[in-house]
Amino acid sequence: MATIGNNNLNAKLVLLGDMGAGKSSLVLRFVKGQFLEFQESTIGAAFFSQTLAVNDATVKFEIWDTAGQERYHSLAPMYYRGAAAAIIVYDISSTESFERAKKWVQELQKQGNPNMVTALAGNKADLEDKRKVSAEEAQTYAQENGLFFMETSAKTAKNVNEIFYEIARRLPRAQPAQNPAGIVLADRPAERAQTSACCS
């Protein structure tokens, strides 16, 4: 069993949200520090992994970036099953995408792991002049539903690392010692932060 100071955990994280909200762009920014104006649409899902050091622990995220189109919804359980964390993404310039995000929140509350750390990301925060969803509205919604909320921009990198760090920081606390679904306590020595990405 891992002890404090030698805490290495693997955490499955899933990104959900409407098509074009910027799920893949957030992951690409976080994992590779890149941004593409036209990110290829994701089919099924893409997998990435990234390790973060938080305090005395390292968290290795196994990230599932899912497809956003409504009909792909039926595939989602395969990706969020057993996930320790989720980021639900909407586009601040689209009210539809915010409504869709709320549906994902409800679904995870019913179907997902009850200890899941869930973040709500209002992405495309750089598009201030096209804003349709106010930060206050989203913040209120997040509070009511036990999520933590951040506005992000994959384009400018605003709050991208922060949201993943915040999840990593909340993980061990949200997960007591019984080694629940989605978190695997690894008893290997700490690996140095490393990145591996597999995308199309």
Partner: protein
């Protein structure tokens, strides 16, 4: 070589320079390794920009040469059997005025032609002949012949200026469909792709637009050259070649295929299947994209099109052959994995570097062994009720969410 530019990949350099070779052999090895790790940017046979290593470039050059050789074989057959011999070999049993022996010999020659064609297609259709051969063997020509010649143009007139949920999603995906391809990135390329996808969304409102079709239609356009031909290939693919409902509503057809694939893996590659199952790795995690994009997002373009050559001639079972082959090729490596991330890394690096189509197809057909279309149809029938029950249960749960909301 084709204007290959080399540039080093920083992470690889760092890894290599950190080693401290003590002997001269080690130095040579390090240099060789460095050369292999050099990242090279080049264009593949269908002008897709690719980043790979020197080996990939060499393989692709060999493939170009093989494509040329294969072309010669097709021309030689054309010279001996007559032009267009490969178009619609039909068993004309009604052949009036023919005597019985000549009927038999006509049938025999048709069968021989079909067998020659099957072998030939597995070895690859030369890119210039692809449009003609695909239209014929897939049944697209026949499909088109049942409607007025002006069908596609009429459809384009009908869709002009229409806005639907499908057109909005298509517009969203146009700049996100192989954005690196030089032609698809032009206004002309995007407009052609838009017309094909929008026209199809009006032809079949159950499918409308499904993400994934953008990649397939884009590749069809690059091969077929004309929009109308690409449109008919898309139609025959969705309506005749693939299993029903792969792209409709809740992708039920795709769910069925994934279950069939899981069973086939257990049967054809039991060791891999057992190992992955013990790791709780569901093969659909990687295979869903393969089946929905018909490998176009995973394999290099010529390799994808070689798969499509066989797909159009032999049907959807080919997708299972190829998917199984990808796992089979890496059996030993996969058996050594302990983490899901490692499985995915192996599979993805394998597919990305599969520049040699024959390497893949040899495994797909020779090592995997034969599977009849009939067996697969039976497997699908077996899985359908389970998929429907699962999707139905999910739908009811989601509806109960909506009721709670009120």
């Amino acid at each position: 070589m084709f204007g290959a530019q080399t540039h080093s990949e920083p992470s690889n350099w760092r890894r290599n320079t950190s080693s401290n070779p003590k002997t001269s052999t080690a130095t040579i090895k390090t240099i060789a390794k460095k050369t292999n790790n050099l990242s090279v940017k080049f264009q593949d046979l269908y002008s897709f920009p690719v980043e790979g290593n020197i080996d990939d470039v060499n393989v692709l050059n060999e493939v170009r040469e093989r494509v040329r050789q294969q072309g010669k074989e097709w021309w030689a057959l054309e010279a001996s059997k007559g032009a267009n011999w490969y178009l619609q070999p039909q068993l004309s049993l009604s052949g009036e005025g023919l005597t019985v022996p000549s009927k038999i010999s006509a049938i025999a020659s048709t069968i021989t032609s079909a067998m020659t064609l099957k072998k030939l297609i597995r070895k690859g259709i030369p890119p210039v002949l692809r449009p003609k051969v695909w239209l014929s063997v897939s049944g697209a020509t026949k499909k088109r012949s049942t409607v007025p010649l002006s069908y596609y143009n009429d459809l384009l007139v009908a869709i002009e200026g229409k806005v639907t949920p499908a057109t909005m999603q298509i517009d969203h995906d146009l700049p996100r469909t192989f954005p690196c391809h030089p032609w698809l990135d032009t206004p002309e390329g995007k407009a052609a792709l838009r017309r094909v996808l929008v026209a199809y969304s009006f032809r079949d409102s159950d499918v409308g637009y499904c993400q994934g079709l953008n990649y397939i239609a884009a590749l069809l356009l690059l091969v077929m050259k004309t929009e109308e031909d690409a449109f008919w290939m898309l139609a025959v693919l969705l309506e005749n070649v693939l299993v029903n409902d792969c792209y409709t509503d809740n992708l039920s057809g795709c769910h069925v295929e994934q279950r069939v694939f899981r069973d086939l893996l257990a049967k054809k590659c039991p060791r891999i299947s057992a190992h992955l199952e013990a790791m709780e790795f569901d093969v659909s995690l990687v295979a869903t994209e393969w089946f929905l994009c018909l490998f176009s997002k995973s394999l290099p373009s010529e390799t994808t099109l070689r798969v499509w050559d066989v797909l159009f001639n032999e049907g959807a079972k080919v997708l299972f052959h190829v998917a199984l082959a990808i796992f089979k090729m890496k059996e030993e490596e996969l058996l050594r994995t302990h983490q899901i991330g490692d499985v995915i890394a192996i599979i993805q690096s394998t597919t990305h570097h599969l520049f040699d189509p024959d390497e893949l197809l040899t495994v797909a057909f020779d090592k995997i062994g034969s599977m009849t279309a009939n067996t697969i149809t039976k497997q699908r029938k077996k899985q359908e009720p389970a998929v429907m029950a699962e999707l139905d249960l999910r739908l009811r749960r989601l509806n109960s969410l909506k009721i709670d909301e009120k």
